[in-house]
Assembly symmetry: C2
Homo-oligomer: 306 residues x 2
Amino acid sequence: MSLIIIGTVAFDAIETPFGKTDKIVGGAATYASLAASYFYNKVKIVGVVGDDFLQKDIDTFTNHGIDTEGLQIKAGEKSFFWSGKYHNDMNSRDTLATELNVLADFDPIIPESYQDCEYLMLGNLTPQIQQTVINRLSNRPKLIVLDTMNFWMDVAMDDLLKTISMVDVLTINDAEARQLSGEYALVKAAKKILTMGPKYLIIKKGEHGALLFHENQIFSAPALPLAEVFDPTGAGDTFAGGFIGYLAKVGTINFNNMKNAIIYGSALASFCVEKFGNERILNLTEAEVAGRIQEFVNLSAFTIEA
Amino acid sequence: MSLIIIGTVAFDAIETPFGKTDKIVGGAATYASLAASYFYNKVKIVGVVGDDFLQKDIDTFTNHGIDTEGLQIKAGEKSFFWSGKYHNDMNSRDTLATELNVLADFDPIIPESYQDCEYLMLGNLTPQIQQTVINRLSNRPKLIVLDTMNFWMDVAMDDLLKTISMVDVLTINDAEARQLSGEYALVKAAKKILTMGPKYLIIKKGEHGALLFHENQIFSAPALPLAEVFDPTGAGDTFAGGFIGYLAKVGTINFNNMKNAIIYGSALASFCVEKFGNERILNLTEAEVAGRIQEFVNLSAFTIEA
């Protein structure tokens, strides 16, 4: 049994008020798989890179026990490249460059050894590719989590709705939930979205935490208030990876485990933003993760006696 | 021993996408004292109205056991009047009219019977008047809570800083915390503000809940996700009133009780927005309040076993 994560594997060049990086390994599948690897040891990625993606870059994954058999390497082509510059408030950014390169005609290959997939994380990509991955798995996974964004609502809504109808959990931000549903109040937005297919909806609110909706239940997860956000790149993907990695570890899908999974995902994301790119989530210790989880517990616990 | 609440007592005319009201009784002291009255039975208000404020309007308070000896009634003058129109998203509004009337030269009178004040809520007013109230109490109250807003930071920062230095708890919103401290990250903003006098800082984030800061401790309180916000007027004052009313009831000031007070304040505020003006908080039952508190407990509880 395994957890498969599909998404971009890329080079990023990031500029924040604290400095700038050369090209570093980024992409949704990178952040998500690294995060998941802290909780589950059968993480496999599906993606595509060019031959500018060197062995040392691939080692980023293998050092974490992540299976890269599904990572295609296209000879003579270049990897997806993104470059962005964050503004002083860290809540907005300008994209300086987006070079699709190998991503332009990405056709995901699912190796035979991946057919034991039990948990599937569909990282942000075209809804069409996300569907293709589901269709190429001989058995429907026990849990499919979909991450997407407003861009696909703008340019490929029909495809996106089809993909949404095929998954169990959808993770989007508050503005995207409003756009997808046409409802401003998140409770109403969630109600509508939960009729589109997913049984669980996670609305990410960045520094304001996240909301989990399931049937008539709601869970409000806090975000850790941070003195310094060094680089927000990849935080959402890290959240998603930590989330599904934790669920793969516990193995039972229910509302309580989903709540905890959100806390674990949030904890991993809170590390991610402390350094550039994936640097901080490359070498976390068990004690660091446990300590951060305890901070989340302390942050939101209260006891009212009736 | 008593809880004194000072603030505006006013007529409001409110328009929302759901309808509009005639002149109804509003003002910070009105919302705060009504909310506090659910938890504490010695609530006294300080304020000023004109003789257009009729006995039936005063009954709004006396029906809730609120002492109005400190409410001056100025013959031949008119009460403070505010009129506003909320936009469709309910998060922004236009002020249509602000008529200061009696508020223009308000000089707060503290009746002798109010000198037993143990808890003092300084609702939004000029920082100068807020100071005057503190100075006119012969004994420094056990707990002083200050609510203020960006307007006073713009026009009377020195006075405001002086008032802030005299209180125990400051409640402001996130934009105001940033303005007051010059820091964007709320953790840094809080650290600075806690050097200005208050031992506790509450940062209100509206639909995203609230943060409580005290020494090195942080508490993140959720907001109840609401399907319908009918009228947000007075929600912040209702929060503050419920908050200090609960503390007056329990009588011990510590971080745990502050956390619970925020939940009680948030619960009352969540009722307030369900109808126009103060309508919903005029006749709450104990069972309704207890049920709402339970919703907050359910909303944010999770159990992670180490």
